[in-house]
């Protein structure tokens, strides 16, 4: 340990925080000034410090800047404190470390490279480490790393494995590891271990990565190779791309426009100043001499900068802070929403990114994963057809749903969570019907499930795919309990009687075979082949005597309501034939050439003339409310594309079951569906009605077959190709796809998912949202404008890279139609109002310039300028933008069409911006010229003059605030107590602050800072002042009200209509949840095996890996059957199986 310490390897402490106490201030300030807005204000501050230019005291900008910086600073500090806490929590986790010959409990952060650690079952692996364990085998689950929840086998070197759990031996262990430098490749590792002069290779199968979880393994010892920041998990937690919303982009452009506007205003005023100086200033010098050393041109040049200072409020300093604040508030509302909280696994919705809220109100395209997103990824055995009799229909003849569950209490090994509603099947089984029993026996034998029995009777199954699990669980409940397996035997409890079958061979599933079989010998010595597979495949291989049964079963399959079906068959084998077959099988499996073909031939030979048993139907359960959600979203004019790795049938099927595809779509013009797939067999389906209606078959496979790279023209006006993503047909594809109401893409690899998203993003200029739950959706989630993760079963990877996460697909409609829409409206209102109020504020100064000799004299009091954005108007607008709702959530859901304006970006765009500019211009004209006209030569009612600069300024300020506050009131749709309070507070606050600032006391204390003493008192007691204020503000507000009213009458928007309706009608009940009975009669011919990793299958890389991992479960070391296994089961499987058998 001391030796290893000397190398200063990174220790295991991780640090994600950015600052510590001492570096916080300088680093954070540096970060903040990198932002353009802050830098701009710093520049202004510097300008203000130059006396020749300064038209305002530096306090005005300084105050704003300090407030902005400190708010952002506090936020950063809180974030960083949280990160520190997180780090500390991780760093302080405990692990057993072997030190000085004994195990000590150590904190994670104290673990050093070279330490030997002991890990237990279900513990997180601390570090990248190389290790040994009982039987040299470790099962891990890498959900945290790549989202895969299936078990993976890792294996230790024999040399270290021999050490076992002998502490002394381990303590005395002395070796040297040489390996590659730290990197982020999860699937590669290279290194060597040298023990006693002998070198052993270390590869990826011999290391455990940080973030894995140990499963099914009692203990394991490991040598720490990389710690903390060097470990692959940390190396992999790359910086996610920073997403910005389109409103952000627009705002930035507008800010640039405003810069231009500001510059041109300043130029106009500079020219004005030059003219004034020539005509007036030059002759006015006897009262106001020029400053020494500054001639007229230089003075004008300085005036330019002075006006930059005076008019700087055009670019509102508090804009960015307020925007962040509003987004944060709206994110909290998402986090707090109980209607997006899923009680079953205690998961609230989570806004992981707080900067994208308003984009949620503008979604045009949704890209959805299927498995785990639309579906629950839970399979339930739902129906079956045994020997020509169908069971399990949920509806009896009168159409009533059967509700009472079948009582499985007679079977003490039954899974209590299992539901089945057809009693006749249970009766059949219990009465000992041989076909039925054989049916379930097959289900309990022919599979690759691993059982786990922690306590007597508490079985749990580890299945490759949920389908298999469902089938085995069904068999278990019907009295054929698969209890345990060894490489050579399968133990089944058949109706309470334990039977041990000898497992002779597994004819495994693959994509081409679409079936799997097992050959077993029963205790009575009977040899049987059990086979299950796709109906098309099995039906071809049945014994002719089954023809009749086959027809009946086919009928049953055709009404399977979109369930995933499998056909079961068996065959009794002859002992002699079996011996012969095994011999040939052995030969084939050791053959050097054409091994796979030979094996396939053998399988083909034995899997024929089978006897049909029946069929099963497994329901791929949709999540709750998926069809309704999709319907709602479709009404909101959001296009939903389903991107799935599944096969076409499955995808299509899901399309029907979640209401995306409907039978009637075939008849309607311009509704079509494209399913494009990519694998060896590429299918391009088009569902495209001919414009003239000349071609009757609408639902027609236009192109089906194996595609090569050359483009085969499709016999229609459209040319589109499955390889479109790579080829130059992208646009064609996109065009076609966008004409469709529904698009389902199947057989899509994760990379292609991202490509599809990017394609739409790039060419449609639409806001996209990707929703998914698994690691394979990560690329698409990252590519889309907004990524949503379903915090479901498939690990955390999707959630971690997502912007929003929640537990159920159906919450998407609330996220978009309610929160998204509100956020968008609020943000638009905010920006509009904010620009308006600053234009009004600033342009008044512009007009005043024409009356003060273009001297950069501010029309307002300096304190007012300082407080305007930060104090007087800050709260009401925040109040409006945090609480405003045009209509409440129920109405929003009731009228999904309310969503459309957001998609079209109607509330805040360049046009709207110009209208705000004009509005601001108008108001500023009124605010300046009405008081100007009424105050010209005015005197107080005691004869004293009133038009002094401070009182004029005070009058304008009061008018301005009255106008902008009233405008806010007109804009606010939803007046909560908070809004009332904020508006009142700001108004009263303004008068209170003004009176205070103009009071004697302030003047006594800070003579030079508050020279405007008395302005408020001497102004507010004049009726003429009040009359002017009243006139000004009504003149600003009334036209707005009138125009809005007339527009509502003439061209009501959808919002107006709904608001009007809301006024006149009662609150609607919760949206009706009509249960849609699926109308489809299409059935999906799904195979249990392809499910769950169908997307992985498409990319060959995964498939390969997968096979090696699957292998150990069925391979045997010393039985002859091992020889029968396909060659790609590698030899490492030997030890794997060894451990397995011991464990069992």
């Amino acid at each position: 340990r001391t030796f290893n310490l000397s190398f200063r390897y990174a220790n295991n402490a991780i640090k994600t925080s950015k600052y510590n106490i001492f570096t916080f201030l300088p680093l954070n300030l540096f970060e903040q000034f990198k932002r353009l807005a802050n830098a701009y204000f710093l520049f202004l501050l510097i300008l203000e410090l130059i006396p020749q230019i300064s038209s305002l005291s530096w306090i005005t900008t300084g105050f704003a800047l300090i407030v902005v910086l400190s708010i952002t600073g506090v936020k950063d500090a809180i974030d960083d404190i949280n990160r520190h806490k997180c780090d500390r929590q991780v760093n302080n986790r405990k692990v057993d470390v072997l030190m000085d010959g004994q195990l000590k409990n150590e904190k994670w952060m104290n673990v050093q490279v070279g330490d030997i650690v002991k890990l237990g079952n279900n513990e997180f692996v601390t570090v990248t480490s190389e290790r040994n364990s009982p039987l040299n085998l470790v099962y891990v689950d890498t959900a945290e790393l790549d989202g895969e929840t299936n078990l993976k086998v890792k294996q230790a070197l024999t040399v270290t494995g021999e050490l076992g759990d002998n502490i002394e031996a381990l303590a005395a262990f002395n070796g040297e590891v040489r390996c590659e430098p730290p990197n982020n490749r999860l699937d590669k590792f290279k290194g060597t271990l040298t023990v006693n002069g002998e070198r052993y290779a270390l590869d990826n199968d011999k290391v455990l990565l940080r973030g894995c979880t140990l499963r099914n393994t009692e203990w394991c010892f490991g040598l720490v190779i990389f710690g903390g920041p060097d470990s692959k998990l940390i190396q992999n937690s790359g910086k996610s791309m920073f997403k910005r919303t389109s409103i952000d982009h627009l705002t930035n452009i507008l800010v640039l426009c405003i810069f231009g506007f500001l510059a041109s205003m300043c130029s106009i005023l500079t020219i004005g100043n030059a003219i004034w100086e020539r005509n007036e200033g030059s002759v006015f010098t006897m009262f106001l001499p020029r400053e020494p050393g500054i001639d007229a041109p230089l003075a004008s040049f300085l005036i330019f900068w002075s006006y930059v200072i005076v008019l700087n409020a055009l670019i509102p300093s508090s804009l960015y802070v307020s925007v962040e604040f509003i987004r944060l508030g709206n994110s909290f509302f998402i986090d707090w929403d109980r209607k997006m909280y899923y009680p079953k696994n205690d998961t609230p919705a989570q806004a992981r990114t707080t900067t994208l809220n308003e984009e949620l109100g503008q979604i045009k395209y949704i890209f959805s994963d299927k498995t785990g997103t639309l579906t629950q990824n839970i399979m339930t055995f739902n129906k079956c057809s045994i020997n020509g009799k169908a069971y399990g229909d949920l509806y009896d003849f009168s159409g009533q749903r059967r509700t009472e569950r079948v009582d499985f209490s007679w079977n003490n090994l039954a899974d209590p969570k299992y539901n089945f509603h057809d009693h006749s099947l249970v009766e059949m089984v219990r009465s000992g019907n041989p076909e039925t029993q054989e049916f379930f026996r097959l289900l309990s034998l022919c599979h690759t499930v691993m059982p786990e029995e922690k306590k007597e009777g508490e079985l749990s199954y580890q299945a490759q795919s949920p389908d298999e699990g469902a089938l085995v669980t069904a068999a278990r409940n019907f009295g054929f309990v698969f209890r345990s397996r060894t490489p050579e035997t399968i133990t089944v409890v058949e109706m309470g009687r334990q039977v041990i079958y000898e497992l002779l061979a597994i004819l495994d599933f693959n994509n081409m075979r679409k079936r799997m079989s097992v050959i077993v010998r029963s205790p009575e010595g009977k040899l049987t082949l059990y086979c299950k597979g796709a109906d098309t495949v099995i039906f071809e291989r049945l014994h002719p005597s089954c023809n009749k049964l086959m027809e009946v079963t086919t009928d049953h399959l055709n009404v399977s309501d979109g369930l995933r079906t499998l056909v079961l068959a068996y065959k009794d084998l002859n002992e002699n034939y079996m011996i012969d077959w095994k011999q040939r099988h052995h030969e084939a499996s050791v053959a050097m050439e054409g091994r796979e073909e030979k094996l396939d031939e053998l399988y083909e030979e034995i899997e024929k003339d089978m006897m049909l048993l029946g069929a099963t139907a497994v329901e791929d359960k949709l999540q709750d409310g998926v069809p309704q959600t999709i319907e709602q979203l479709a009404k909101a004019d959001i296009k939903i594309w389903v991107l799935t790795g599944d096969k076409q049938e499955t995808a299509e099927n899901i399309g029907y079951s979640c209401n995306m595809l409907r039978e009637e779509m075939k008849d309607v013009f311009n509704q079509m569906m494209i399913v494009f797939c990519q694998s060896e067999a590429v299918t391009a389906y088009e569902f495209f009605p001919h414009p003239q209606g000349a071609r009757p078959p609408l639902w027609e496979p236009l192109h089906y077959g194996v595609l090569t790279d050359d483009l085969t023209p499709i016999p229609s006006s459209l040319h589109h190709q499955a390889f479109a993503l790579e080829k130059n047909l992208r646009l064609e594809l996109l065009r076609t796809a966008c004409m469709c109401q529904t698009v389902i893409c199947c057989r899509v690899t994760p990379l292609q998912k991202a490509q599809v998203v990017q394609l739409v993003k790039k060419y449609k200029q639409a806001v996209t949202l990707a929703i998914g739950d698994g690691a394979n959706d990560v690329s698409m989630i990252k590519a889309a404008h907004i990524g949503v993760g379903i915090s479901g079963q498939e690990g955390m990877q999707a959630v971690l890279s997502s912007d929003y996460s929640f537990a159920q697909f159906r919450y998407l409609q609330r996220l978009l139609l309610v929160h998204g829409r509100w956020s968008y409206i609020r943000m638009c209102k905010f920006l509009g109002y904010f620009f308006y109020k600053n234009f009004t504020f600033t342009l008044v100064q512009f007009w005043y310039a024409f009356f003060c000799g273009f001297s950069a004299q501010t029309v307002y009091d300096e304190w007012f300028i300082t407080f305007y954005n930060m104090v007087y108007t800050a709260l009401p607008v925040l109040g409006m933008c945090l609480f405003d709702q045009d209509v409440n959530d129920r109405w929003s859901l009731q009228h999904p069409e309310l969503y459309a304006p957001g998609q079209k970006n109607q509330y805040f765009n360049k046009k709207a911006f110009v209208s705000y500019l004009i509005h601001g211009c108008y108001c500023s004209l009124i605010i300046f010229f009405i008081p100007w006209a009424s105050m010209n030569d005015a005197v107080r009612n005691d004869g004293k003059d009133i038009v002094s600069h401070p009182s004029f300024a005070f009058l304008l300020q009061t008018c301005l605030l009255a106008v902008v506050h009233t405008q806010l009131c007109v804009d606010t749709y939803y007046w909560t107590a908070v809004n009332h309070f904020f508006v009142l507070l700001s108004t009263i606050g303004y008068f209170a602050i003004s009176v205070t600032m103009y009071s004697n006391g302030m003047f006594y204390v800070f003579t030079s800072s508050f020279p405007l003493i008395g302005a408020a008192r001497n102004t507010l007691n004049q009726p003429i002042v009040w009359l002017t204020i009243f006139l000004t503000f009504l003149l600003c507000i009334l036209p707005v009200v009138a125009i809005r009213f007339i527009f509502i009458q003439l061209r009501p928007t959808i919002n107006d209509k709904v608001r009007y309706k809301m006024r006149t009608e009662e609150l609607p009940g919760p949206a009706p949840r009509h249960l849609l009975r699926r109308r489809s009669t299409r059935s999906g011919y799904a195979f249990s095996h392809s499910q769950g990793y169908g997307d992985l299958v498409t990319s060959r890389k995964f498939l390969m890996k997968r096979s090696t991992k699957r292998a150990p479960l069925f391979t045997q070391t010393d039985s002859s059957i091992f020889q029968n296994q396909p060659q790609h089961y590698r030899t490492i499987a030997e030890e794997a199986e060894e451990s397995q058998s011991h464990k069992l």
């Binding site: 400053e291 929403d337 003059d945 809004n979 509502i1048």
Partner: protein
């Protein structure tokens, strides 16, 4: 799912605030509010407008320009010479009583008291009577902070330096007999200026406080000798000085010069008769195309004469009524359908 009240750590609170169900008032621009609202506002405006206009019409104002631009005007000779204390006089006749109380203003136009550098050119601390600022005036007063021989100027700055220095006396000729009209110069500045903002140093005699300082360059007399007749009206609290220092917001302005003292014959204002204003003409305005005038005015509850406000109220009131009619027509004709 709301029914399930299990202990769930992550369950969001069910409050009106977090669920965005705060009770709220949701006004909409319905015809029932907008149209009557416009009518009411319109009528109210017309009412106010009429009242304002009537009041404004009842106010008498008399303006006399004495810049001396034209050759015929009485002060043209003074305006062309640079003589100090050049005298000229203006005559006017009142046919009826000028209802009191009457205020006597002087007015300047095209005079930029609101120019930034001009406005900043003063030292509030000095004017507050802080002696330390007597010897070292603020640099904001530049170039009127020190004179040529580096003596500090008190009061410093452009505003003080450019103080209005024409003086007026008003006489009435009744049947050949001239009678000087009593003018009251007390309390013509803001109370806050006189009592709070400006202060003489507490040194007696006041003159001593000004030791080592010089008077503003363009002043004839130092600050402590502004009013020889009233010792308390000197220094920074001189009323004329205060009025001048309250700088105007707009380039055309008038400032209160005196009140007609309501005593004797002038109890009710200026009686009918022939009047003469004797002007001591010092202030040069022709160089910058400015104009000077004297104004007599009385006031009402709403201050001085102000036609604009009354007319504006009337116009806008009428527009509101018109608008409400337009809106009524639109509403009746296009009233948006309840069903979409």
């Amino acid at each position: 799912m709301v029914k399930q009240e299990s202990e769930s750590a992550n369950r969001p609170d069910n409050t009106a605030f977090t669920q965005q169900r705060l009770p709220a008032w949701q006004p909409i621009l319905s015809a029932g509010i907008v149209i009557p609202g416009f009518v009411l506002i319109g009528l109210a405006f017309i009412g106010i407008g009429v009242a304002l206009l009537v009041t404004s019409r009842s106010i008498q104002v008399l303006e006399l320009d004495y810049t001396g631009d034209g050759n015929g005007s009485p002060c043209s000779s003074c305006s062309q010479s640079t003589t100090v204390n050049c005298k000229c006089s203006l005559n006017f006749t009142l046919d009826t009583l000028f209802q009191g109380p009457v205020f006597f203003y002087y007015g300047l136009s095209n005079y930029f008291q609101n120019y930034r550098r001009y406005g900043a050119s003063k030292d509030d601390n000095q004017l507050y009577g802080d002696l330390s600022y007597f010897t070292s005036p603020s640099s904001s007063c530049s170039p009127y902070d020190y004179d040529g021989s580096k003596n500090p100027i008190v009061p410093c700055g452009s505003i003080a330096n450019s103080m209005f220095n024409d003086t007026f006396t008003l006489t009435r000729t009744v049947s050949g007999k001239t009678d000087s009209v009593p003018l009251d110069g007390k309390g013509i500045a803001w109370w806050t200026d006189y009592n709070v903002k400006y202060r003489n140093p507490s040194v007696t005699p006041l003159k001593n406080a000004f030791n080592g300082t010089v008077k503003p360059i363009d002043w004839a007399k130092p600050a402590y000798e502004l009013d020889t007749s009233d010792a308390s009206n000197n220094g920074f609290v001189n009323q004329d000085f205060l009025v001048w220092m309250r700088r105007a917001a707009l380039p055309n302005f008038r400032k209160l010069y005196r009140r007609i003292d309501a005593s004797g014959d002038y109890q009710n204002g200026l009686p009918a008769g022939n009047y003469t204003i004797d002007i001591t003409y010092n202030y040069p305005v022709r160089v910058f195309n400015g104009a000077k005038k004297v104004v007599f005015s009385n006031v009402s509850w709403m201050g001085g004469k102000n036609e604009f406000l009354g007319i504006a109220y009337l116009v806008i009131g009428s527009l509101c009524v018109v608008m409400s009619v337009v809106m009524l027509i639109v509403y009746a004709k296009f009233k948006f359908p309840d069903e979409e």
